[in-house]
Amino acid sequence: MSAGSEMEALVAQAKQAIGAVADLDALEALASELTGRKSLIAKANQELKDLPPGERPEAGRRIGQARAAINALFEARRGELMAAGEAERIRAERIDVSLPGPSVRIGHEHVISKTIGDLTEILVGMGYRVAEGNEVDTDYYNFEALNTPPGHPARSMQDTLYVESGRGEEVLLRTQTSGVQVHEMESCSPPLYMIAPGRVFRRDTLDPSHSPVFHQIEGLAVDSDLTLGDLAGTLKFFIREYFGGEREIKLRPSYFPFTEPSVEVSMSCFLCDGSGCRTCGHAGWIEVLGAGMVDPNVFGSVGYDSERWTGFAFGLGVERFAMLRYGIPDIRLLYENDQRFLSQF
C-alpha cells in the first residue's frame, strides 16, 4: 500500500472513531492514541528516514496533511461535545430565580447621626469646619463667658445637671453646645466659620417631647463685615437645602444672653406650605432654631475686638430636625433603640 492511501485510510478510520466518541475524556484518550507518540502517524513519521530520499518530501507532506486532518476532526468533535455538555449543564442547573441570596445584613446609621451628618454636609459645603467640645464643661464656658453670669434670669430657662466634682456648681454637663464657640474663639483668631455638633443635657424627665440627653449643632461665623442680613441669608440657604427650596423663613426678635439682636427662626411648614396643618399646629410656620449676632460681651470674654469683628451664631436641636423631617412623633423612640425603629433609617 502506498503511503498516500495508507494515510487516507488512517484519516477515514480516525473520522469514524472520533464520530463514535461520546464524551470529552474518551475523546482525549483517543487523541493520544491517534496522534500521540505511539500512534501510527508518529510511527509513519519516524519511518520517513527509511524511505529513499526522493520520496521523502511527498510522504512527509501526506503525513502532515493526515495529521492536520485528524487534528481538525478532533477539534470539531471537541467543540460539539463541549457545547452538548454545556447545554446539558444549563438544563440541569435551572433554578428558581426568586429564591433569596445568602443574607448579607447591612446595619443602619442612627437617625441622629444621619441627621447630624446631613446637616454637617450642608454646612461644610458652606465653608464651615467642624469643632468638637467636651460634654462636661465648666460653668464659665457654659454660662459666664456667654454673657450669662450667676443669678442671670436666663439660667432658669435651662435646668442644669451638675457633676459631683468637689467644686460646687462649677463643673456641669453642658446645657448647650454654645460653649464650644468660646473654646474655639479662645484658640483661633478671626475670621472663623465653625459648627459644633454634640450632646447636651438638661435636668428633664423623659417624656414624648423632652429628653435629659439630646443633641444640638452650634454654628458660629466671625468676620469683618457680617450682619443680621448675612445670618438671615445663611439660615434661609441652609433650611432650604435641608427642608426644600420652597421654604420661606421668618425671624422673630427673641432673647439669648450671648447674642444681640437675637432671633427665633421659623420656616413655612414643609407639609402644608404654610396653609396650616397638624405638624405646624395650624400656624403655617414651624420654629426651627435660635440665632443672633454675637453679643459684644462674648467677644470681650475671648479678647476679640467687637469694633473690628462682627459675627453671628445659631443653634439648632438635632432631634427636632429629625423628628420634623421623618415625622417621628415621640423623642423617646430615638433613645429606645428598638431594631424596628433603627432599621428604618
Partner: protein, 796 residues
C-alpha cells in the same frame, strides 16, 4: 402673660383685628402662644338660679336641683357638685346649649332621674384648667336670669397668650404690651390718670418702716387705708382677672393683682391690725426662722432670704409671697399697701431655693421699674378706695436711699446699619427709639444720645438700642445675603473622616448604630462602683453616674430588643465616656467605640456567629479599614467578661481596647440569649494611630509561590505569636500568610494543636527559583521551631 384685648384697648386705640394684633406683637418679639376668644365654643349657656335642692333617691353623691333661668323657664337637673345651696346663681346650660369642645347638652337620665341640662363649672366653660365644684356667681351682682353667661362673665373678649422672654419684665403687663402695640401700630398710648383722695391722718401715724437691707430692697413704699369693707370685686374687675388667668378673691386682693397685671408692678396688702407694733421691717431672715405663706405651707427660711417682718416675726417672703398671718380676710378693716423694688437676683435665689414661684416673683426676679413704684401704689389705693371704701392716709412712706439713675446710652446710627445690614436713616432710628419711650436728648447723623426708661433694665449698651431699632424696623424688612468672604473653606478633620469610615464599616458588617444616654445607674456597671464620676443632682438613680463605658448602654439596648423578639442583635455606638475625676475636678472624658453581638443564633448549631471570633472578625475589618493592620491580641481579664475569651487589643505595645465574650453570668442576668461578645476601643488611641495618608508601595509583578505548612505547637502557644515568628523569619519575601486550619485530636499529641498556614512568597524583581523557595520554607520552619517550639506536622 395672658393679655385681654378689651383691657389692652383701654390704653391704646387699635383698628387691627385680634389676629393682626397678635401678629404685630409677635413680629416685635413677643411670642404668641395662642389667641382665643373667651366665649369660644359657649353657646346658649345662661344665668340661672337654683330654686330647690333635694337628695337624689338612688345616689349619695348626687343632688337634684330645680333651676330657673328666666321668663318662666325651669329645669330639673342632676348635679354632682356640693359647693352651692338654694338661691345660688349659676351658669346653666339648658338642653341644646353647647360647651367648649363641641359638647352639646342633651336630655339624659342619671340614675333613674331625668336631667334637663347642666350646671357648669369654670373648667367646663373653658375658663380654668381645673375646678372644684361649679361656678357660683356673686349674689350682689344683679345678673338677670336668662342673661347669656358670656355677657355676665365678660367673655366678650379675646385673650392672647404670650411667652415673654426673660429680658423684658416690662412686657409682663398690659401697659407694657400697650406701649409696644402703640409703637407697632402707630397709635397713641394713654395711661390712666389717678384720682386719689388722701383724706386720712398722716401716714406716719399708722405705720413705721425700717429698711435694714437696702441692697436687697433699694426702695420700699407704704400707704395705709382705713375703714375698708372687704367684699367681692365688681364683675368688670373679676372678668379681667379671670381673663388674665387669675382667680378673683376679694376686692382688696383683686385690686393689687389688677395693678400687677396692668403695670407689671407687684403689690402686697397686709392686714394692718395683724402687724405687731404697726411696724414693717425689711430684713434678712434669721437662722431657724420660718413663715407660713398664703398657700398654707410652712416655709423654712435662711439668712439669704429677704423677708418683710413686723416687730416680732416675718409676715411675708419679700417679693414672692405674703404670710398667712397677715392675710386680708373678710374681717380686715385696715390695710398696709406695700409697693417696693426688690433686687432681682436675691428674689430669684430665694424663689428657686423654695421652689416657690408667683406672679410677683416672676416680675421681681427679672427686674421691675424702680421709678414705677409710686404710680402703682397710688393706682391701687385709688381703686381700693373706689371699690372697698375707706380712707387713705395722707402721704406715702418712701424708703429710697439711693435714687435710681437712668442709663445714658449713645448710639451710632452707622453702627446700627453695620450690625443689621440695613440702611436705616438716623432720623428714622430716632423715631423708632422714641416710639417706645426711649428718651433722645440730642442727635446728629453720627450719634444719638439717649436715656433709657426706668422700666427697661435690659437697655444698658449701644447694642441693646440697635436691637430695638432692628425689631421695630422689622426683621422681615432686612435684606438677606450670604457672607461674601471667600477666605475660608469647610471640611472634616482626618479624625472626623475616620469616624465616618468606622461607622460605614460596622454597618457593612451588619451592625446597627444605637444612641444611649450618657448616664447609667449603679446596677448597670459591670465592675460594680469603681472609679466613676457622679451627677450631683440626678432626677433618678438610673441617671446618677456618668457612663464609664459604652457596654452598659449596648447591653440594655440588646436586652430591650431580645426581651420581645428572639434572634440576634448586632449593635455599635460611638460616644463619650467618663473616667474618674482628675485633679482639676473635671472627669476624664474620652470618646469610645463599642460593639456588641448577642442573642440566640439563627442557626442553632452555630453559636460561633455570636462568639469571640465573630466579633473579632468585625474588629479586624474595622481596624484594617482605617489603616491599622498590626494589632495584636493578648489574653486579659476584665470584669464582666469571659476570662478565657477576652483579649487586650495592642498596637505598638499600647492597649487600645478590649475584645471578648461577656461572662456567662452577665449574659444570663441581662437576658442576652445564648452568647454575647463585645469590643470597646478608646478612640483617642485608635484615631490617633491612623497612619497619615500612605504613598504607593510597589508590589511584585512575578508569580506568587504558595507553600502550605502545618505546625504542631503546645496549646499555650498563641497563633498570633507563631504567625509573628514566621513573618519575622521570612522577611519581605513573605507576601501573605493565611491560617486555614486548626486541628486538635488523635493525630496530634495531647495538649497540642495543629495550625496550618498558606504562605505566599514572591520577590520584587524575579520569579523565585525552586532553590530559593526551598530556602524560604526552611527559614519559616526554623523560625517557628526556634521561637515557638513548633514542629512541622508529619515530621514527628
Amino acid at each position: 402673660m395672658r393679655l385681654s384685648l378689651n383691657w389692652l384697648t383701654d390704653y391704646v386705640a387699635l383698628e387691627a383685628s385680634a389676629s393682626e394684633i397678635a401678629e404685630g406683637l409677635d413680629a416685635a418679639g413677643f411670642e404668641v402662644e395662642s389667641v382665643r376668644r373667651l366665649d369660644d365654643g359657649i353657646e346658649g349657656v345662661v344665668v340661672g338660679r337654683v330654686e330647690a335642692v333635694s337628695d337624689h333617691p338612688d345616689a349619695d353623691k348626687l343632688r337634684v336641683c330645680t333651676v330657673s333661668y328666666g321668663s318662666a323657664s325651669e329645669a330639673n337637673v342632676v348635679c354632682g357638685a356640693w359647693n352651692f345651696d338654694e338661691g345660688a346663681k349659676v351658669a346653666f346650660a339648658p338642653i341644646g346649649a353647647e360647651l367648649p369642645g363641641g359638647f352639646r347638652i342633651g336630655r339624659r337620665r342619671i340614675r333613674g332621674i331625668a336631667s334637663e341640662g347642666m350646671i357648669c363649672s369654670e373648667e367646663e366653660l373653658g375658663l380654668a384648667d381645673s375646678s372644684d365644684g361649679i361656678l357660683v356667681l356673686p349674689d350682689e351682682a344683679g345678673y338677670p336670669l336668662g342673661m347669656p353667661i358670656t355677657l355676665a362673665l365678660g367673655l366678650d373678649d379675646t385673650v392672647i397668650d404670650f411667652d415673654i422672654t426673660p429680658n423684658r419684665p416690662d412686657a409682663m403687663s398690659v401697659i407694657g404690651l400697650a406701649r409696644e402695640a402703640s409703637a407697632v401700630f402707630g397709635s397713641e398710648l394713654a395711661i390712666p390718670s389717678i384720682e386719689l383722695n388722701e383724706s386720712g391722718a398722716n401716714i406716719t401715724d399708722f405705720v413705721k418702716v425700717e429698711n435694714e437691707s437696702p441692697e436687697r430692697c433699694p426702695r420700699y413704699t407704704a400707704r395705709t387705708i382705713d375703714g375698708i369693707e372687704i367684699g367681692p370685686s365688681p364683675e368688670w374687675l373679676a372678668a379681667r382677672l379671670t381673663a388674665s388667668g387669675l382667680r378673683p378673691i376679694n376686692n382688696v386682693v383683686d385690686v393689687t393683682n389688677y395693678v400687677l397685671i396692668e403695670c407689671g408692678h407687684p403689690l402686697h396688702a397686709f392686714d394692718r391690725q395683724s402687724l405687731a407694733e404697726g411696724l414693717i421691717r425689711v430684713r434678712m431672715a434669721g437662722h431657724d426662722e420660718s413663715v407660713e405663706t398664703l398657700d398654707k405651707v410652712e416655709r423654712k427660711l435662711t439668712p439669704e432670704d429677704l423677708v418683710i417682718a413686723d416687730a416680732e416675726r416675718p409676715v411675708a417672703i419679700a417679693g414672692i409671697m405674703g404670710g398667712a398671718g397677715s392675710e386680708i380676710t373678710a374681717q380686715t378693716k385696715s390695710i398696709v399697701l406695700e409697693s417696693a423694688y426688690f433686687e432681682p437676683t436675691g428674689i430669684l435665689a430665694t424663689s428657686k431655693r423654695l421652689a416657690l414661684r408667683s406672679e410677683s416673683s416672676a416680675r421681681f426676679e427679672r427686674g421691675t421699674d424702680p421709678e414705677g413704684v409710686l404710680w402703682a401704689s397710688a393706682r391701687a389705693a385709688s381703686l381700693i378706695q373706689e371699690l372697698a371704701g375707706g380712707v387713705v392716709a395722707r402721704g406715702v412712706i418712701d424708703e429710697y436711699p439711693v435714687p435710681f439713675e437712668r442709663q445714658r446710652i449713645c448710639l451710632r446710627p452707622s453702627r446700627t446699619n453695620k450690625i443689621l445690614g440695613t440702611r436705616i436713616a438716623p432720623d428714622e432710628q430716632v423715631r423708632l427709639l422714641k416710639a417706645i419711650e426711649i428718651e433722645v436728648t440730642s442727635h446728629s447723623d453720627d450719634e444719638i444720645r439717649t436715656v433709657a426708661p426706668s422700666f427697661r433694665p435690659d437697655l444698658t449698651r449701644e447694642i441693646d438700642l440697635i436691637e430695638e431699632v432692628g425689631r421695630l424696623h422689622g426683621y422681615s424688612n432686612i435684606e438677606t445675603r450670604l457672607p461674601s468672604s471667600s477666605s475660608h473653606t469647610g471640611g472634616l478633620t482626618p479624625r472626623q473622616r475616620s469616624r465616618r469610615i468606622q461607622s460605614q464599616v460596622l454597618r457593612g458588617a451588619g451592625l446597627d448604630e444605637i444612641k444611649t444616654f450618657s448616664f447609667v445607674g449603679p446596677e448597670d456597671l459591670l465592675n460594680g462602683a469603681g472609679k466613676v464620676t457622679r451627677v450631683a443632682n440626678p432626677l433618678r438613680a438610673e441617671e446618677s453616674i456618668l457612663r464609664p463605658s459604652l457596654l452598659p448602654g449596648l447591653i440594655s439596648a440588646a436586652r430591650f430588643n431580645l426581651a420581645h423578639r428572639r434572634g440576634e442583635v448586632r449593635f455599635f455606638e460611638i460616644g463619650r465616656v467618663f473616667g474618674a475625676l482628675s485633679e482639676s475636678g473635671m472627669p476624664n472624658e474620652v470618646e469610645h467605640l463599642a460593639a456588641l453581638i448577642a442573642g440566640d443564633p439563627v442557626d442553632a448549631s452555630d453559636s460561633d456567629t455570636l462568639g469571640y471570633f465573630a466579633i473579632k472578625g468585625v474588629l479586624e475589618a474595622l481596624l484594617n479599614a482605617i489603616g491599622i493592620s498590626d494589632a495584636r491580641y493578648e489574653p486579659t481579664e476584665r470584669a464582666g467578661l469571659h476570662s478565657g475569651r477576652t483579649a487586650a487589643v495592642m498596637v505598638d505595645e499600647s492597649p487600645i481596647g478590649v475584645v471578648g465574650e461577656l461572662h456567662p453570668s452577665v449574659v444570663r442576668d441581662k437576658g442576652l440569649g445564648a452568647r454575647a461578645s463585645v469590643f470597646e476601643l478608646n478612640q483617642n488611641e485608635v484615631l490617633g494611630r491612623i497612619p497619615a495618608e500612605s504613598s504607593f508601595q510597589p508590589f511584585s509583578r512575578y508569580p506568587l509561590a504558595l507553600v502550605d505548612l502545618a505546625f504542631v505547637v503546645h496549646e499555650d502557644v498563641a497563633a498570633g505569636d507563631l504567625e509573628a515568628a514566621i513573618r519575622h523569619a521570612c522577611g519581605d519575601a513573605l507576601e501573605s500568610i493565611r491560617l486555614f486550619d486548626v486541628y486538635r485530636g488523635e493525630q496530634v499529641a495531647a495538649e497540642c494543636k495543629s495550625l496550618a498556614y498558606a504562605l505566599g512568597f514572591a520577590a520584587e524583581d524575579h520569579t523565585l527559583s525552586d532553590d530559593e523557595l526551598a530556602a524560604l520554607r526552611e527559614r519559616a520552619i526554623d523560625g517557628a521551631r526556634q521561637e515557638c517550639g513548633a514542629e512541622l506536622r508529619g515530621l514527628q
